[in-house]
Symmetry: C2
Subunit: 421 residues, 2 copies
């Protein structure tokens, strides 16, 4: 534990402040992937590597890899992303990269090489903010990329993803070559802000992440009959908004049967949408998430059944179309335990560390789907707010997080060595 005691988490915080100065304006962080500001952030980060005995390069998908050779080729990967949403926060993604940097640097400046090889990855375009394709770099690494579907994605100015990649030296047709970076990977760890209110609600700085929730995302359209608001008796109406409203309320009951499940109607549009007409068509979106695939499937089925029932009650019809879905990705049981131990040892040796699923997706999900043992550590988000310039975490909690994440890295190295991986 000696090296752990000497580890100084302060450098991560110092660099987070530097990065904020460099890439935020009054509206927040502007490190949108494949843009000038993002490239500036990555150049700045590269400048921090010059004095370290590490190799670094960009892979075929634009992910940046920094490698510190260890006594063994067995490899621990630490990672997150430097890109942000437009008008984003200073911590989302950047915390994980700079905490990883602090740990890599600590090992690099030690007298001897680490027992295993340690790599830090800055994934390209986790947010998908410009082209709507999130987890871009990590999906290329994991082989779950979708080149055909992504080729014609365009930003607001009509520039295609393919063109933007080319401008950044990435050939869309070759992004799958990033798979070579998987070699010898034995574990993946990621530190991230929670982006939700759970840890704050519990008064805890840190939590061990169980996995990323699966998502079922659908568009639901109720068809009723547009009618004059003044001349159409209540009893003969076919009010599409009434059917949609019932569903907006019922999804809370559906989610409420399960501890961590969530169901959200984020958008509801009414047509013709004028004060003097009964709503003839209501278009809703539904986003359902849970860590358990069975629970997710049940919630999806229950929402469909409820929508049919409400459509029938209101003499409307209903149609569903899937927008997107992803399976739940549970993290590695032993790494989750090690994460808990690291949190307990850092924060409160006699208490219990909190375990929680992640609602938002992370690059860690792509790595875990691939079969590489993975977990994440969350640090409390003030007000549960992220993707916003007011996104924040107490500096004392950030320091605790980087320290605990270093402890987790050490424990994971020991576990890699103890296992016949």
């Amino acid at each position: 534990m000696t090296s752990s005691q000497l580890f100084d988490p302060q450098i991560a915080l110092t660099l987070l402040h530097e990065l904020r100065e460099l890439t935020a304006n009054e509206q927040g962080a502007q490190r949108v992937a494949w843009t000038e500001t993002w490239r500036r952030a990555r150049s700045w980060f590269e400048s921090k590597l010059h004095d370290l005995p590490v190799e670094y390069h960009r892979d075929a998908a634009g992910n940046n890899w920094i490698t510190l050779k260890g006594a063994s080729d067995k490899t621990l990967i630490l990672g997150s992303h430097l890109d942000s949403v437009p008008n984003g926060g200073w911590l989302d993604g950047a915390l994980g990269v700079l905490a990883g940097y602090a740990i890599l640097r600590h090992f690099a400046l030690s007298e001897s090489a680490p027992p295993v090889t340690i790599r830090l990855v800055d994934w390209a375009d986790e947010e998908g903010a410009r082209f709507g394709r999130s987890l871009f770099g990590s999906s290329a690494f994991a082989g779950t990329h979708s080149i055909a579907a992504d080729r014609y994605r365009a930003d607001r100015d009509g520039i295609t993803l393919e063109e933007a990649l080319a401008e950044n030296g990435v050939d869309l047709n070759r992004i799958g070559d990033a798979a070579v970076e998987r070699a010898n990977a034995c574990a993946y760890l990621e530190l991230h802000i929670e982006q939700g209110p759970i840890l704050e609600g519990l008064g805890l700085p840190l939590g061990a992440v169980l996995g990323t929730k699966g998502v079922e995302r659908h568009a639901i359209i109720f068809h009723g009959q547009e009618a004059h608001s003044g001349s159409t008796p209540m009893a003969v109406r076919r009010d599409a908004l009434a059917a949609a409203s019932k569903l907006a309320l019922e999804i809370r009951t559906i989610a409420g049967k399960h501890a961590d499940a969530v169901c959200t109607m984020g958008s509801l549009k009414t047509f013709p949408g004028i004060v003097t007409a009964v709503v003839g068509r209501a278009e809703a979106t539904l986003d359902q998430r849970d860590l358990d695939a069975g629970v997710l499937a049940q919630m999806y089925r229950e929402a469909q059944e409820a929508s049919q029932r409400f459509a029938h009650e209101e003499r409307c019809s209903v149609e569903w179309s899937r927008i997107w879905n992803i399976e739940p990705v549970p993290f590695h049981p032993r790494l989750i335990e090690l994460c808990e131990e690291a949190i307990r040892e850092t924060v409160n040796p006699i208490g219990k560390a909190h375990r929680l699923p992640s609602g938002p997706l992370h690059d860690a999900a792509e790595v875990a789907r691939l079969g590489i043992p993975t977990t994440m550590m969350f640090v409390q988000s003030l007000g549960g707010i992220s993707h916003n310039k007011i996104e924040d975490t107490r500096e004392s909690d950030l320091l605790l997080a980087v320290r605990a994440f270093h402890t987790l890295a050490e424990k994971t190295i020991a576990w890699i060595l103890s296992e016949a991986l």
Copy 2:
């Protein structure tokens, strides 16, 4: 009853077809007030007056008055409007004007002058389709016009109401002079399509109208808290859509306590309105109508209270702002009875005529508010549909309607003569 038996309603139907040929395209009727097509309709109508012993002129608000002098100066006014919404139907407004024409013509071609003076009015801009100011001409007649508020109303091309009026020979500042047309008015009658499904539902061709419902029209905004759909537990959400959905359903209970009351949430908008965010703000409209001012006030109060309760339950706040309101306008009890008698005698001597309130507003409401004894007769609308090219009524019902309306005119003349009006 002799003259009634000789009355031929067919001319009204013939003229309705002629007008449709002249002013409709594939999208429906295009007689929008203050436009070229509307002026063409009015010129065509004027051409039908040349062979009749009547005086006609346009008043200061653009209403057209045709006067058949009677033995007495006491005056019965028949009226409706030739203007339509864009892509409108062939009957809305035009039926009342051309039925009035058939009756006026019948009296004009009789051997002797009618016992009272009979006037037919074609109100200007009942629909308010171009400038959003409905009942324009009748409100000027009634003295409830709103020149200051209307002066800067503009159409989609930026042309102001004042400019469009000038183009049609009307000076906005002088529209109140239309009040001179009130002289000697003893009763006002209007035949109109129902624009709702009630008579069709009852299998009845005609109904006597009790008055126009009062309207309370409000914008209601629920403020909650935008939050990430994946990371925000159900229990801590402040979902503005949930509060709005509860209100969308509760207004049906509120309306359901009263026989003819209606409450409509015609528009609901969600913000930020994206699939991955709990709704932080929901903007709804509420339109409430009843013929009884007490009922209307009660419904408005109950909706406000319910919205406060739902906002509290969902830890949201709510704000109301009035868009528009109008008092209920009950029609004249004796004229409603005469209308029922005329319907019974025409359709079914042994049955009972149906009485119903009007949800939509009509020029008759402005006349009635002024204190002139008023009623309306409704004829069934197929499918309850209007303001649409598919607006329609069986021709046999139209003929019944014109015939019954003539009978009502005769009964009203007799009533005018019998009363010390």
